[in-house]
């Protein structure tokens, strides 16, 4: 069953067709990677999924419901969690409060339940020992993990990760891959990612965008073997 799908989804900025007529289908439970060269329209596409950018044409269906014109906050509450490409935590607030803000609306003001879920999410990404620090005092890698904890705490049906490994050290990337693998099966994940290693090791399926259109779609092996993708993105080494 498909959790998220788009039909003819397009976004034009003046004459520029940032995203053009994308039909996309994400089955529930899958880990899907969205890749493509810079300027391929990944960020615009995800912006339309999450409601940050209005679509010029086409529609977005989430969980059987047309959400094309729904404002972003309603999509989040419908079960879509979104983590920012550029780390965007509340630097002047404690780590716990960052996560609590992400999901207080889910517990309906039950602070004990909120605290329990906050602890659980921090434990999950491995920064429970930093719970009382200010988010701004965390290292960059930990801030990225905090972002993910904020998303996880919402127990979303779809977790959208926008370039989660950007700027991480190699050892941190290894941990990140393990984290994504542990989440697979619990929720559907859409991963926008530059690091092809991460993609190959985590994704069940890959969608390749190029010049605003879907260039190819398939399993990691199929994508690796696809000549068009190699030419456009992976290089012809």
């Amino acid at each position: 069953m498909s959790l998220l799908s788009t039909k003819d989804l397009s976004r034009h900025f003046g004459g520029l067709k940032a995203v053009e007529s994308v039909d996309f289908d994400l089955p529930a439970g899958q880990v899907r990677a969205l890749i493509g060269p810079n300027g391929a329209g990944k960020t615009t596409f995800v912006g339309m999924l999450s409601g940050r950018i209005p679509a010029s044409r086409g529609k977005v269906v989430f969980d059987g419901r047309d959400i094309t014109t729904e404002p972003a906050h309603r999509r989040i509450r419908a079960g879509m969690a979104y983590t920012f490409q550029i780390t965007s935590v509340y630097g002047r607030l404690p780590v716990t409060e960052n996560v609590a803000l992400a999901m207080r609306w889910r517990t309906g003001g039950d602070e004990a339940e909120t605290r329990r879920r906050v602890a659980e999410a921090l434990e999950r990404v491995g920064i429970a020992d930093r719970a009382d620090q200010l988010a701004g005092d965390l290292s960059y890698g930990h801030q990225r993990l905090l972002e993910i904890a904020m998303g996880l705490s919402q127990s979303p049906r779809l977790l959208i990760l926008d370039e989660p490994t950007q700027g991480l050290a190699d050892s941190e990337i290894v941990d990140f891959i393990a984290l994504i693998r542990s989440l697979a099966g619990e929720m559907t994940i859409l991963l926008i990612e530059h690091n092809i290693n991460v993609v190959m090791q985590t994704a069940d399926a890959i969608t390749v965008l190029n010049s605003g259109q879907v260039l190819a779609e398939g399993t990691p092996d199929e994508i690796r073997a696809n000549a068009a993708v190699q030419a456009a993105y992976l290089g012809t080494g």
Partner: protein, 314 residues
Amino acid sequence: MTDMQKSWALHLGIIALLFVLQFILPAYHHGSLARIMVLTCYAMGYNILFGYTGLLSLGHALFFAAGMYGMSLSIQHLDWSTGPAVFAGLVAGFAMALVIGMLLLRTAGVAFMIVTLMFAQAGYLTVLYFGEWTRGDEGFVIKQELRRIAGFDLSDPTNRYFAALLLMAVCIVITLRVVQTGFGRVLVAIRENEERTRMLGYDIQRHKLAAILLSGTMSAAAGAAYGLLFGYAGATFASVQYSIFPLLWVLLGGAGTVLGPFIGTLFMFYLIDLSSELTTAYMLIAGLVLVALTLFAPQGLVGELRRRTLRWLP
């Protein structure tokens, strides 16, 4: 004690202290403090929007004046008794905040400031335009015999002091409750990072409108109380000067702290009071102290205290 217990103890303690002070203070300071407490409510209303939500208004005199004129005009021209008149002041402030708030939500950043400034200026000119009723700059005195509530004569210094203290206590409790609940925390989140907050599933516009309504109504309550307790309503209170005051008080005391508005108002009042005893160039002294404070305590007095030692201060 948990942080929450500590903060209740501190704030209720300060209210108790102010209660006791009424029996001790000499007449002059007694009167000043009553005035400061009413103005503190104005600053607290301002602080909800500026300190907690991060929206800088340059036109809060509009709400203060809405409360003051809503109250005083209905006493003066509709012959209402004090209770309903105060209520009319609150309704005027709330309605003003609702209308202006809806329009303000279409703006952000600098535009927000300019639009608040413009509306307040329009409000000020409206007061002057209807001079037949408002008596414009000259204003009007509300007769002593009309300033009674439940049998208490509010022009009596003791009653006036207690009325001011009661109002301030209510504002403190409301603010404390707001900052302790999820609603207040979302306001802070909006101040810190609006886009992130939207993408966590919060309706930004609805929260901002609620903040404007609360802020405007609290400011109007202060305006109504000021007119009632001191028996005068005049256009000065709608002027740009009265839009800037709460900003100064809150900045000095500490934006985004519950006690900041009180400390800021108290400090500024006595700063001007004491320096004007020394010299006619008292604004020079006041100005220099303000410059020094912004340099060395940019987060305000209470904000600085929180940063250095009392991390739990709300």
